[in-house]
Symmetry: none
Subunit: 147 residues, 2 copies
DNA sequence: GACTGCGTGGGGAAAGGTGGGGAATTTTCC
DNA sequence: GGAAAATTCCCCACCTTTCCCCACGCAGTC
């Protein structure tokens, strides 16, 4: 499985394209075929899953019973935002308008490696996010991984 | 199996035709033969099943116990609205009047990929639908897919 | 100091969405 | 039963968007 890490602030050009950092590109499995599935993240950002990783997610959703009202709604909410994009010859992807609108991304994007996915943030929004979550890492670690 | 995802707002022309997004067309299996079965959706929308996927649904409904009053009624309700349509040379389908009336679709249509089917919504109705389902994704995911 | 890798920008060709005309078929009405 | 009207289907044409390719400049490396 691909393990992404690190951060970078890149620009988004007039055509809505942004480069994926070379370090993250080299972390991709060959099975990903240079293709990602972008979707709406929890919090105001875009989740970027490599194709092979997304297949696993998709499988889960496909097994839900669509005769169940809540399941139907969940599938709608997740899939309507999902979009498949591929790297161009320069190692860039183009951001679907619906998603960059949602995340408030315009001409700058903060790219964060987060294990099995990459996250795209509006740099300013991310700064705000940090301000709202001032708990220090030590406390969090204890809360989450404690016992 | 075809896996549809993404969203798009397209127009419906004066002849009641609407294009199927190219991304969804490429997701079609060859067995679908560019043919869909449209039927009344749960919630106020139109369900669009590729031919091969519809066969599976048909099988499911065919296996229901027709001695059961509810099952009998459900099958009637679903099948009486079902209609088969094919893509034209431009990748469009024409919407049966009964269905577009039911969904309230006029000159604009919101097209949503939802796994094995495509959904057609009146954009405004969909906005209302979203307002009525404000549960956040995280809670819903937990409810539906367990811990 | 030249070379290579990487992020950025843009031009041109191809594809995709939209609209409409006209022939063939079906429906309706006299 | 036949003519008129409406509908359906197939094709062509336009225009915007997308995709693919080429080019530049900066940075780190040998």
């Amino acid at each position: 499985m691909a393990r992404f890490k690190g951060q970078a602030e890149y620009s988004v050009d007039s055509k809505g394209r942004t480069a994926i950092p070379a370090k993250m590109r080299t972390a991709l499995s060959p099975e990903a075929l240079g293709t990602f599935t972008l979707t709406k993240g929890f919090e105001q950002c875009i989740y970027v899953y490599p194709l092979d990783q997304w297949k696993i997610k998709e499988e889960e959703y496909g097994n839900l019973n669509t005769n169940n009202r809540d399941a139907r709604h969940l599938v709608r909410m997740i899939l309507m935002w999902a979009e498949e994009v591929s790297l161009d010859g320069q190692g860039r992807i183009s951001l679907p308008k619906a998603l960059s609108d949602f995340a408030g991304i315009r001409d700058k994007v903060l790219i964060i490696g987060a294990m099995d996915r990459i996250e795209l943030w509006n740099p300013e929004h991310f700064a705000h996010y940090l301000l709202e979550h001032t708990e220090d890492q030590e406390t969090l670690a204890e809360k989450v991984m404690g016992s």
